[in-house]
Every structure is written in C-alpha cells, then in structure tokens.
C-alpha cells in the first residue's frame, strides 16, 4: 500500500508541477476569476455620457415634437430600465437583483437620467437640403464626450411616416444619419426614440391617446414558479439550461485532462524504459493503481478549482441558491465512476503502445464515447426523462455524464434510476479495471508494432 502511495504521489507531482499544467489548468481559472471580478469593475455598463444635438427634418410636421420628448435623458433611462428588467427576468428574478449586482460593480444606475446621454434636438425646416445638413456630421469630434452644440445625428422623417402609402408599407418611415464612431448603444437609443415618436404620432392621428394605449398594452410579466415535490421554486430559464451543461463540461474537462495525462505518462515511462526499473520494485498492479490514484488526485484538483471558482462566481452574483449540495455530491460520485473507467482504459492503451502517436487509433472509440453525451446534450436537456435519456443513463461510461445532465435539470430522474445508473457504472469500472490490469501486465514490456483492440483482448485472455 505504501508503494502505491509513493507512485501516486510522484504521478501527482510530476503532472501538477509542470509548466504546461500550471499554465493550462491553474492559469485558466485565474484568468476567469480576474475577468469575473476585475473586468466589471473596470468597465461600465452604460454608454459614455455623451452630449450633443440631433437635427430633425420632419416632413410630416407632427413627429418632431414627440421625438424631442423621446430623446430626453429621462426617456433614455426608462427604456434602459425596461431592457434591464427583461434580461433580469430571463436570468431569474429570485436569484439576484439589480441592486445586488450593482453593489459588486461600479456600473452606473441605469434608472438615473443624469447617467444617460444628454441630447438636445434641433428641428430644421421640412424643405432643408439634406446633403447640406449632413456636412456637420463629417466634422471631427474634438471632445470624446461630445459638445452640447455639436451635431451627432440627422433624422429625416418621411412625409408618409404617419400614413404610409400601401406600396411603401414595408419601407422605413425615416432615415437616420449619424457621425462615424458614434457609440452603438446611443444609435440604438435614437432608433428606439424615433420609432416611439412615430408610433405615438400614428396613434394621435388615429384619434387615440398614446399614453392610454401604452398603458393598456402593458401587461407586467409574472414570475414563473416551478412546483416540485420539495415545494415551490422560482424558475430561471437561462440558468436552468446553463447549469447542467456547465456541470457536464466540468466533468468532461477533469476526466479528459487526467485521462490524457495518465496515457502520456504511461507511454513515456515505457518509451524511456524506466518501466523495467519500476517493475523490479513494484508489481504491475501496484504501478497501475498508483498511477491511476495519482491522476485521480490531479482530476480532483481541477474539479475543485473550477467548482470553487464557479461557487465564488455564483456567490458574487448572488446566485448561490441555484447550487444544491446533492448535485455537488453527485458530481463527485460521477467523477469517480467515470474517471476510474476512462483511466483504466487509458492505462491499458498507454501500456500497449510504444509511442504516443500509436495510441491515436486506439483512443478514437474512447473519445467518441466521451463526446457522445456532448452531441446528445440538446435532446437530453430538452427532455431529461425521454426513452433515450433513460437508456443512456445505464450505459457506462456515458451514463455518468447523462445522469449528471439529468440530475442538474428541472426534472431530475427517479431515485431508482440514479441508483441503478451508479450500480451499472460501478460494474463497468470493475470490468474496465480487470481488463486494464491484464493488458497492463502484458503490454508494458511489449515493443514494436502498435496493437489493435483485438490484440488487447488477446493479451487480456492470455494473462
């Protein structure tokens, strides 16, 4: 047992203490962490506090007044707040509020008009020469925050904007010219303002009170609440679809990284001929067990790093409530079951080949196995209890990924299915380890032509 531990410790340190690992595994979460914490503090959500004029050529003579109102800072703030509330609804109302998020950043409060662009409007005569009026837009902007007297945009409201001709119904009712490199959010805001103003003018023309119509059309969307055996839960469409995928990716990354690393170290030991020195001190079974355990610790490190990072990120966005401890426990169990099976196969392949490139053909079916849940992610996520999902839940090593996807979904599977899936995976692990142990013993000292899967099976029978 002590020897297995020594092999495992060496395997762990030899993998973790390399520049490649540090850069690839440790640096990535560090960069993500920096992005999560620093970038929101460095950038602002709102557009720059730009100042300037919007010139209006209103060929209808009705819209300009409405447009002046629509382009005020107050209306900008109201429209932004509306968009924000829509996004918040998508992310889930119960998992954090605008206030909580703003507390973690220096982003401006989108409901404050003083944070919005300060636009004044100039109404030009209906018969103005459009080409002449475009000239001020071509002059360079000396101050990046603008100037109250500088022209930022020119709006031409078409003559038939209020009552479009039958043949022009599909055409735009206005033209908008803006100066180059104007903030795209401001351009969007101006578009929204114009559409709002034309819409209001059309309602007026139809004899309707625009304010009343808006009020009548506005139906506040309610929160969706999912009813489960545990009770009533607030529903978050976006996070409910992201979380299972995130868990599956996490499992895949940790297993692929340490599985690949195990294969590489076995092949290296074999091609370096150090394996014979090792076999004079430990049995092939002790060597294989030590290596698998060492890489398992590597996988745990990756899993812990990314999970920890995810938890911190969720906590910082006040979304920690999304994570259930049972799900984390199942992630841990899934990792163990999937890892042991994949690691056993990788160890067997590594022992059978003399060079890493010889392993590629043997790796192909294993990689396909690992990629299958990825390809089937959408149908499984959409219907976690379909026949396909249930059947795949019992076929190791895919079962671990599929079951995790289902467990993290809105409609987790029945407990018996979870138990049976674990049982099937455990059986798969047993078969894979036995197979690997036999192939490992024979393959370690075999050099020459790269074997096929048939050869591996023959070796397993032979030993």
């Amino acid at each position: 047992m002590k020897k297995i531990l020594y092999v495992a410790i060496r395997e762990f340190l030899a993998t973790v203490m390399t520049k490649g690992f540090v850069l690839g595994v440790l640096l990535t979460p560090t960069l993500i962490a920096l992005m999560v914490f620093l970038i929101p503090r460095l950038i602002t959500e709102g557009p720059p506090k730009i100042e300037g004029q919007v010139a209006i050529v209103d060929q209808t003579g009705i819209v300009a007044g409405n447009l002046a109102v629509s382009l005020t800072a107050q209306r900008f703030a109201e429209r932004r707040a509306e968009i924000q509330s829509r996004v918040q609804w998508m992310a889930g109302n119960g998992i954090g509020s605008g206030n909580a998020r703003r507390a973690s950043t220096r982003a401006p409060d989108l409901r404050k008009p003083e944070e919005m662009p300060q636009i004044s409007t100039v109404v030009l005569p209906a018969g103005s020469d459009v080409e002449q009026e475009k000239i001020p837009l071509k002059r360079p902007l000396l101050n990046k925050n603008g100037d109250p007297s500088i022209r930022l945009a020119l709006v031409i409201i078409h003559q038939d904007a209020i009552k479009p001709e039958e043949q022009n119904a599909e055409l735009p009712s206005y033209d908008l010219f803006v100066r180059g490199q104007l903030d795209d959010r401001l351009v969007e805001d101006i578009h929204s303002g114009i559409q709002e103003a034309i819409g209001a003018a059309r309602l007026q023309e139809a004899g309707l009170d625009a304010n009343n119509v808006v009020k009548l059309l506005m139906v506040k969307r309610a929160e969706t609440r999912a009813l489960t055996a545990e009770g009533e839960q607030k529903n978050s469409m976006m996070w409910n679809s992201i979380l299972p995928v995130a868990f599956m990716i996490l499992l895949l990354i940790s297993i692929l990284t340490c599985g690949q690393s195990l294969l590489t170290t076995v092949v290296e030991e074999k091609s370096n001929r150090v394996v014979e020195v090792l076999l004079s001190a430990v049995s092939p079974m002790e060597l294989m067990t030590g290596k698998i355990l060492g890489q398992m610790a590597v996988g745990f490190l990756i899993l812990a790093l990314y999970t920890g990072l995810g938890i911190v990120a969720l906590a910082s966005f006040a979304m920690l409530g999304l994570l259930k401890p049972a799900l984390l426990l199942f992630l841990f169990i899934s990792y163990l079951l999937a890892y042991f099976m994949i690691a056993a196969i990788m160890a067997a392949i590594g022992s059978a080949v003399s060079e890493l490139r010889d392993a590629q053909s043997l790796m192909m079916p294993v990689m396909l196995c690992l990629m299958l849940p990825w390809f089937l992610m959408m149908p499984i996520s959409r219907d976690p209890n379909s026949m396909l999902s249930v059947v795949l839940s019992f076929i190791p090593p895919i079962s671990n990924f599929v079951m995790l996807l289902r467990m993290a979904s809105n409609t987790p599977p029945a407990l018996w299915q979870v138990g049976l899936s674990i049982l099937m995976s455990a059986a798969g692990v047993y078969v894979a380890l036995r197979f690997a142990a036999k192939v490992f013993r024979v393959g370690l000292l075999m050099f020459g032509k790269p074997p096929t899967f048939g050869t591996l099976i023959r070796w397993a029978r032979m030993s």
């Binding site: 020897k3 001929r273 014979e276 020195v277």
Partner: protein
C-alpha cells in the same frame, strides 16, 4: 548451502518463439554467477522471470525462499539492460523515490543518496535533472538504484554496456565489493570476456537452452587447450615446416608471432617438443581456451569454420546482431 535462486523446468514462449526452454538452475547464496550467451539467447527473459516481471508458461521458480520474486522485491536489486530514468526528474529525487519503492524510508535517506553519489564520483548532481547527465553517469545512477537498499540478490543485465574503460573498472570494483558483502550476484552479458573477469560460475544460454552450467575453474580444466602461441627466435625462419608436424592442423600469423591450432586427436604435450625441435622458439606458450572458444565449441562444434561462426564470435565480443539465421 542454501540456494538464492532455483529454477525448475522453466519454459517461456512468445507466440511461436520459445525464449527459454526447460531451464533448470540453482544459484547458491553469495555466489557470483555469469549468465552468458549471444544477443537473443534468452538471458533477459530468464532474468525477467526471476524478477517476476514475466511469468513462466511452465516450471517453478524460487527466489530468496519465495515462490515469486514479488514477495521479495525489496531484497532484490536490478540493473536492467535498457537504461531508464525519468528525464525531467532530479537525480536526488529519483534516487529517493526508487529507494522508497524498494522499502527504504529512513530519516537519513537523502544523506545516504548523497553518500552514494559521492562514492560513484557524481558529487553535486543531486539537483541536476537526469537528462542533463551523460550516458555513463546515468548508468551509475541506475546502479545506485540497484544497490542503495543493500539487496541480498543483485541481478545485473549487461552492466558494462555504454561505459568507457575507466568506468568499466569502477563498475567492476563496485560489483566485487557487493560480492564481498555476501550478496548473490547474477551477472548477464553477451561479452564473454566480462564474465571471465568477474564470475566464479558460468551459465551459458543459446537459443533458449542451457548449454553449460559449470564453475569457471572447471571449465578451464575440462576444456583442453587446442592452441599454442609461438614466436620464433629468428623472425625469418621458415614456418612452413611446422605444418608437416603430426598433430598440427593449422598455423596462422597473429602479427607478433604464430598461432598453432592442434588437430582433435593430438595434445599440446606431444606437439610442443616437435615444434621446438623444428624451429628455435623465442617464446612458446599454451593458450587456454576462452569462454568464447568454449561457447563456440559447444554451440558450433570445432569442425565448423564458417562465416556464421565468425559472426557468432563477433556477437560474443561486442554485441553483434542476433543470430536469426541460427533459429
């Protein structure tokens, strides 16, 4: 005397090729046995079976009182033919790791490692990575891994391969030192001269069969000398007259003098007086048969004087190719 290694009717085949065939061997404790034979004779397979790295298809093994070396790995030291080190690992860490795998874990393990490095003429290499060392230095590191845990059985597979003459001498001294400590040593080589210099008992293998298992002294006694080295007093003397002496089969020049090969039915004692009478010698001596000669005589027969025989000799001197043709 108790035997450190016992092999009874051990056979190992790889597919159609039989690597070791019905092999019997007993190595007494404290002995220094030479396992010799050309490349491909089955030496490494035999060693791997003794170490339980490979398992025999048939037969029984007993190593240090156990039916499998797996139960006695901590008492065995092994220097394999193929040198293997973790290239990126530091020398000190590698030696500590190997010592621990061999069951050593004393508090002063690191100082023991330093002591061994000092002894091998490699001071200050502890912090170096294995790949930074020369081939000879790497071999010394491997030798340390084989002996650092003070084993009772030391198996050395081609320990002189890749070493310069100075380091060969250092290695020879270290092996003899271990032998004096009472360690049983099994020394495998295809270079017969190395075995002749070191071992007190020789086991010869050829194509998986044991062809000789005898003490070196007995080998020398039982194999009649068939060659006489002769140097005439007058370098211009007519040597052709020696060819007509009864019992002389062949006379060849060796640069300095002449080598007289005796016919199979004659002896040195009957031929030497006749040679001396024919040409006045400056020096005459019987050349004792080397292990190489013995091996050739056993596997090829003295009458065979073919190109194949010359290839076999070459392989026994400096590692020629496996004699596939003989299979």
């Amino acid at each position: 005397m108790t035997n450190a290694v016992i092999l009874k009717n051990v056979t190992k085949a790889f597919g159609e090729t039989i690597a070791v065939r019905s092999f019997n061997l007993s190595i007494p404790e404290g002995a220094l046995y030479g396992l010799i034979g050309p490349n491909g004779a089955g030496k490494t397979t035999l060693i791997r079976m003794i170490l339980s790295i490979l398992f025999p298809d048939q037969g029984e093994l007993n190593v240090l009182g156990h039916s499998s070396a797996l139960e006695a790995k901590e008492r065995i030291g092994y220097l394999p033919e193929e040198r293997g080190l973790y290239k990126k690992m530091r020398v000190g860490d590698f030696l500590v790791y190997m010592a621990r795998l061999k069951g050593m874990d004393p508090p002063d393990l690191k100082s023991q490692v330093s002591h061994w490095l000092q002894r091998m003429g490699l001071p200050g290499t502890e912090r170096k990575r294995c790949e930074e060392l020369s081939k000879g230095m790497q071999q010394k590191i491997q030798f340390i891994t084989a002996v650092i845990h003070r084993p009772d059985l030391l198996i050395l597979d081609e320990p002189f391969g890749g070493l310069d003459p100075v380091n060969q001498r250092v290695m020879r001294e270290l092996i003899l030192e271990e032998h004096r400590r009472g360690v049983t040593i099994l020394f495998s080589t295809h270079v017969m001269a190395h075995a002749e210099q070191l071992c007190d008992h020789i086991v010869m293998l050829h194509l998986g069969d044991k062809v000789l298992d005898q003490a070196l002294s007995e080998i020398r006694q039982t194999n009649d000398p068939r060659h006489i080295l002769f140097e005439p007093l007058d370098p211009s003397a007519n040597m052709d007259q020696l060819r007509s002496i009864p019992g002389v089969r062949e006379i060849t020049s060796n640069g300095v003098g002449w080598e007289i090969t005796l016919a199979s039915d004659s002896s040195a004692s009957s031929v030497i007086p006749l040679v001396v009478r024919a040409v006045v010698p400056a020096q005459i001596q019987i050349r004792r048969p080397s292990l190489e000669d013995v091996f050739i005589s056993i596997v090829a027969g003295t009458e065979v004087q073919s190109e194949e025989n010359a290839k076999l000799r070459a392989s026994l001197r400096d590692g020629g190719e496996i004699l596939e043709a003989r299979r």
